[in-house]
């Protein structure tokens, strides 16, 4: 093979990255054995006592575990739905805009929040929604009672989902906009000659044209059903809304890092990783079967 002399150079190029992946990804994967130990920092992995499935038993018996699991799926599910529907509608409407300069301005601005961190955006949201914040001032101007938005269990999931949509809808619309430009213009011209209304064009040309994209994104989002968004919730939740807002990731942080119950936290995290992996594999399988999707 004429390229055989290059092989060792290719290996050398990959070496630094591989070492880093082994140290910071593979070794922590081996670290999941902690889930079967009563791990103590001072004793280390080799000397900490092995306790079998005790941590998992405790996890399933704990009274909070059901609500944490439910909250995770509840928030993640509504995020998946809202983060598909809102960007889709936005993309379809923006696609109708013919003035290029206007369109570009809109795009530039709505993508911006995607690049800001949840620390920053939560700081802003907490200020806006506080008891003497802008939103409550407006409510009071209309004669309504102020609402403690971030202290209400019925409102907290709604705020989480809607602020996530606010941050991401523009960015999520990019892929739909790309799919919309891929639709053959002659289809629209033909429909117009046949006297189709806007709604008819939407139903018979636009939606079928981007259906493959919608199906693909929908399938791939199955893998996200346990990802309710740690960064966001960690920066918005507080003890008043643990009941409706505490998710697996925030629980793992509090139990593992704050309370130093390493074994239990690893068990909970492992549970999440395994279910997440199974769902991702299923969704990739479905995506490759129905939409010819390949990751690489």
């Amino acid at each position: 093979m004429k390229h055989s002399i290059f092989q060792k150079h290719y290996h050398m190029m990959l070496l630094p990255g591989m070492i880093l992946l082994i140290v910071f990804s593979v070794i922590p994967m081996v670290g999941i054995v902690l889930a079967f130990q009563d791990f103590k920092m001072g004793l280390g992995i080799t000397k900490s006592p092995w306790i079998g499935l005790e941590n998992f038993k405790y996890m399933f018996e704990m009274k909070d575990s059901r609500s944490i699991f439910f909250n995770t799926i509840n928030i993640a599910f509504w995020k998946i739905i809202a983060n598909s529907v809102v960007p889709l509608i936005f993309a379809i409407l923006l696609n109708e805009v013919r003035k290029v300069a206007f369109k570009r301005w809109v795009q530039t601005i709505v993508y911006l929040p995607h690049f800001l961190s949840w620390v920053i955006l939560s700081g802003i949201i907490i200020d806006l929604l506080s008891l003497d914040g802008v939103v409550n001032n407006a409510l009071q101007a209309f004669g309504m009672e102020p609402i403690m938005f971030l202290g209400s269990n019925s409102l907290f999931p709604v705020i989480v989902v809607s602020s996530d949509v606010w941050k991401e809808f523009g960015f999520n619309a990019i892929i739909y906009l790309a799919a919309l430009t891929g639709i053959n213009m002659t289809l629209y011209e033909a429909a117009e000659i046949d006297g189709a209304s806007w709604l008819q064009k939407l139903k018979y040309v636009t939606l079928p044209g981007i259906a493959p994209t919608i199906v693909l994104l929908g399938t791939l989002s199955i893998g996200n059903i346990l990802n309710a968004g740690f960064d966001q919730i960690f920066n918005l939740y507080n003890p008043l809304v643990y009941e409706s807002g505490d998710i697996i990731d925030t629980y793992v942080y509090r139990v593992g890092i704050v309370q130093a119950q390493f074994g239990l936290a690893t068990a909970v995290g492992l549970m999440k990783s395994v279910i997440g992996l199974i769902l991702i594999v299923i969704s990739y399988r479905l995506a490759s079967r129905f939409a010819n999707y390949r990751i690489f």
Binding site: G17, L21, Y111, N235, I257, G269, V281
Partner: protein, 295 residues
């Protein structure tokens, strides 16, 4: 009849533009509001008089934070992690993307490496084993804790790899016939041809490093090592959230809180992103689209 139709069409068209303008405004309004508060008079802000324009314009909040050594220290920790982390990310991304962009016939172990990388992307041991590992490695309170665990940006590697693959094979073949080895090809052919993709991955890693707060929170034990996002998380976000959770604190908090100061910290916390944003948004769509071309 015809006239009537065109009139309704114009109405719908008009409302479409109004709706789009409204949505755009709503995306920007919270950010504008925060900037306005940061430049406002303290009392006016506390009384809720500020909306989108500063009331009683002054820069007192900014002079306060410019004299706050903890804040400045955190700012420089963030600058440092962006530089060190960004350079490491860049080198690793380029070095990994090139061999992985070769065909399996050209680089025999290409698919094995690829699977390994995908596995590390799909499965993780979770945060606790990493936390314990970092403690054993003695990396707490060092810059390495902020740059090494995220040193391999797998998403960027795949993006650049796909871009490299879109460069015509004839170019590689011609180079190899002329006796160019892999290092020469990478440095003199692939890198110069990949400016948009390289700009995209660099901007992504700058944004990621600047925006990260969680690694700073768990790996940094002393406050002076906090990156800026961690500082803001702890001293603005967390403090405000604690005050929400107890009703009796709210009244006291109202008197003590310094909304303008908090707003100015938040503005500085997003400033670098706003500064690079024009470049970011010019490159990223282009870069993503190019990177997603698959054979």
């Amino acid at each position: 009849m015809v006239q009537n139709k065109s009139w309704t069409t114009r109405m719908t068209k008009g409302s479409l533009y109004v709706l789009m303008a409204l949505i755009t405004f709503l995306s920007l309004a919270p950010i504008l509001y925060t900037v306005a508060v940061s430049f406002s008079d303290k009392a006016a802000a506390a009384a809720g008089k500020v909306t989108l324009w500063p009331v009683g314009f002054n820069t007192a909040a900014y002079s306060t934070i410019l004299n706050d050594n903890n804040f400045l220290g955190s700012f420089f920790v963030s600058v440092k992690r962006v530089f060190v982390g960004g350079i490491i990310n860049f080198l690793i991304t380029v070095l990994m993307a090139y061999p992985l962009s070769r065909q399996a016939s050209e680089f025999r172990f290409r698919d094995s490496y690829m699977w390994f990388i995908i596995v590390t992307m799909l499965f993780s041991g979770g945060i606790i084993p990493l936390y314990i590992l970092m403690k054993y490695l003695g990396m707490f309170d060092t810059i390495w804790a902020l740059v090494l665990p995220t040193a391999v940006p797998v998403f960027n590697v795949i993006l650049l790899m796909n871009f490299f693959r879109s460069i015509p094979k004839e170019l590689s073949e011609a180079g190899h016939i002329d006796g160019a080895g892999p290092w020469y090809m990478l440095m003199k052919v692939f890198i110069p041809l990949s400016a948009p993709a390289l700009a995209t991955v660099t901007l992504f890693s700058i944004v990621n490093h600047w925006n990260s707060f969680f690694d700073g929170l768990i790996f940094m034990r002393s406050m002076e090592n906090y990156p800026l996002q961690t500082y803001i998380q702890q001293f603005v976000v967390q403090t405000n959230l604690q005050n929400i959770s107890s009703v009796e604190r709210i009244e006291m908090f109202k008197k003590l809180s310094n909304q303008t100061l908090n707003a100015s910290k938040i503005v500085i916390g997003m400033l670098p992103i706003l500064v690079i944003y024009p470049f970011l948004q010019r490159y990223f769509i282009h870069g993503i689209m190019l990177g997603s071309v698959k054979e």
